[in-house]
Symmetry: C2
Subunit: 462 residues, 2 copies
């Protein structure tokens, strides 16, 4: 229904700038880097995600005939420009942190090095493909910390912002530590475990709640989870006690009940008591309904006997931080460092690498932002890896499972204060002397632009 | 890259329930309605949107062979069930408010009447296709009110949650009153006006800011907008005064400058003075950078001489209200009203219509939620229109331009207090006696389910 790929999925200014670059023969090598300026409030770290989709985008960037025809017919672009786009290919390189890597503000997560027009054109979709998965992988990770080993399932497709968001979210929260998703398409698309129970409408369509349970159990006996809060949560739990032996005779076990409304902790306690008293302590309790990492933590801190959680709207919309202060910025062009003058936010120029140091216990001890050409010292680990060179994949990005394990491993090695849901930013990130020197060089150039000298005044008055 | 359509774009439980419905021969007619429970804080109304995409979904709902093959291979579904889905078609009806209609909590925006399985299966994607466009059309409308006639352009694709969100947002904010978008694909896809300027990277890639302006002007002389805040906003404005006559000689006019950072009001004032003093009062000022409806209003209240705005992240992510408390609920099955018992939120059961009354000045005076079968009284206007019957389009949904005009007309007829950015919910919405009677009937049923009687106890003990 909605075409979501292709190179017209971009801001008009990218195409406008390309036309101007070509007209001015500006075809030198450019370096752009994606980074985040600031952590959302209470966040101690971010999780790299979306890299695989960016690599796909970069590797296969082509204009289709239909796109070029539209550009011609629109009357907005010169014929020579449109013709030149016919052969558009990405011939540069992509370096990035592997997915699942924890990162911090100002650190380049992904670097594109390519002729200026190529690196420029992809800006919009690169940000689009990175920002959201980073948000959701991070939120997934925060939920995983809060859930402390309890089952976590993404329920958010319906409230995600469109179809692609739902799919990206299913993948990203799994990367971040979720056990799976309710989104069916995520199984064939990403190989992610999928889970499902039943809706209130299923119960309500029956003239009898117990008949609804029984119908469902007969039709879908595997991994049976029954939704018990449609009419009276505790009454439904009691009805189950009568149903369970009848189902057992047919070889079907009730694995869990789901509670989706009301005071989840209180209902869970009462239901646990009913089930235990009825000899059904093996039936687990699954909770859902307006949850986020803070509520997971509050429920478990309160000792609620809940074994698993469905997390929906607040996960898939990253409700407390629906966007990141992030950018994909020109860092270098024609061998010279570049940056914008800024009244409130500055950017380290140049092509950069992030080197992470660990303490004797294997804990993360601090990162240094340095130039890509600087040697890696003190047994540090360089985080950005080469993925694409001369337009071709050379690096193995790794599987989703590997990324998931990386996130888990790195969170375990994070200073514990940064794992808290109300973390204060405190992870040490420094910039090397060479980066600082380059920033001074860039600023000298900016100063010259701010105070036009003789050469420019001559131009102005000629 | 990412498949975003198809009937596997759903929650697993929808398929699970379908299998159980078929196994139990539950094929009577069901009525589901989509509605919003509560307005986001400060919102006085919502704008209907997304209906066209839902109609497309419903009309063309089919399982592909690839989807069915996956279902079979997954081992999660019975062979008879998968086989039955091969002929899945929507044979029911869809009634909805036309896009651009203003609506309020508890009012059905869209109603599906169809055999139970058909209406159930589409739940997830229907919510997904309605919620987000409603949020963005509403935010667009709030921005349009705040902007009071100044130009508004959507800049949000890069921070939207995925590609589809970016496209849906471009369309929805245009419906809500925006003048256009920077998203190129929105032009061929929806016929929406597109706008573009240049990025800081374009300026920075040049060794000289003025040369950058000149290169751009020569390559893209139409609708020329120059970004002036890369190094020194006021210095750049002064440089333009020298450039403008040279461009004029070539027949090119600078239409506007864009300011994207710093104190936008203060920079706009200074730049306005520089341009006016230089005899360039025709050059307009366009502002962007972290804007939302509140900042638009504050800038204009402060008398900032800004002629147009680019609104990005906070629009496309609906940052202050990233999701709606909305639902697609079973209202009737087999001719009997249905609803869930609830500790905190209740739903009007039955198949319903919304009738709007107007006062003698044509202003909206109040809505009544009544049964679809009840006559429309007192010259009220029934808001839900038939769109699909027996699986086929019968109603004309109208064009995007018509929806845009409808939104504009209705906002003008809204009580003015509800147009405020900090509105208190106050629009009168009542439920008819028949709806209330049906709710009592549904509650009597719920009571019986909460306190199982003889019949059920017999089942339990048999």
């Amino acid at each position: 229904m909605i075409p979501t790929t292709g190179l017209l999925l971009t801001d008009l200014y990218e195409l406008a700038m390309l036309e101007a670059y070509f007209a001015s023969d500006m075809e030198d090598e450019a370096v752009f880097e994606f980074f985040v300026r600031e952590l959302p409030v209470g966040y101690g770290y971010l999780v790299a995600a979306g890299i695989e989709d960016v690599a796909e985008l970069v590797e296969h960037a082509r204009f289709t005939d239909a796109e070029l025809d539209w550009m011609t017919k629109s009357g907005r672009f010169g014929a020579a420009f449109v013709d030149r786009l016919r052969d558009f290919r990405f011939t540069g390189s992509l370096d990035a942190m592997p997915e699942g890597t924890l990162f911090f503000p100002d650190e380049p997560v992904l670097r594109i090095t390519a002729p200026l027009a190529q690196a420029q054109l992809l800006e919009t979709r690169i940000i689009n493909l990175l920002q959201y998965p980073i948000l959701i992988a991070t939120k997934g990770s925060r939920c995983a910390t809060a859930a402390a080993g309890k089952q976590l399932v993404d329920f958010g497709l319906r409230r995600a912002h469109g179809a692609e968001a739902g799919l990206l979210a299913a993948r990203a929260c799994y990367l971040g530590g979720f056990d799976g998703t309710s989104t069916v398409l995520a199984a064939p698309r990403y190989g992610i475990p999928i889970y499902g129970t039943m809706a209130h409408s299923f119960i309500e369509a029956h003239d009898d709640e117990l008949a609804a349970f029984e119908h469902f159990a007969l039709a879908r006996p595997e991994g049976l989870v029954l939704l018990i809060d449609t009419y009276d949560t505790e009454a439904a739990a009691r009805k189950l006690l009568g149903l369970a032996p009848r189902l057992a005779e047919r070889g079907t076990a009730i694995q869990a009940v789901r509670i989706d409304s009301g005071d989840l902790a209180e209902h869970a306690r009462r239901v646990r008591r009913i089930l235990d008293a009825g000899g059904r302590s093996e039936i687990r309790i699954f909770a859902s309904g307006g949850l986020d990492e803070h509520q997971l933590q509050a429920l478990l801190d309160a000792g609620a006997p809940i074994d698993g959680f469905g997390v929906g709207s607040k996960l898939d919309t990253s409700a407390d931080a629906p966007y990141l202060d992030c950018a994909y910025k020109l860092m270098e062009y024609g061998g010279r460092p570049r940056r914008k003058h800024s009244e409130d936010k500055s950017t380290w120029p140049g092509r950069k690498q992030v080197v992470r140091r660990f303490d004797e216990n294997g804990k993360m001890a601090g990162d240094q932002i340095q130039l890509a050409e600087e040697p890696v010292q003190d047994e540090g680990e360089a985080l950005l890896q080469p993925i694409i060179q001369q337009g071709r994949r050379i690096g193995r990005l790794g599987t989703l499972e590997e990324a998931r394990a990386r996130r888990s491993d790195q969170v375990a090695r994070l200073p514990s204060a940064l794992r808290r849901l109300d973390a204060e930013p405190s992870y040490p990130v420094s910039a090397s002397d060479s980066v600082r020197e380059l920033a001074r060089e860039a600023d000298a150039f900016i100063k010259q632009q701010r105070n036009p000298g003789q050469r420019e005044l001559k131009r102005l008055n000629r």
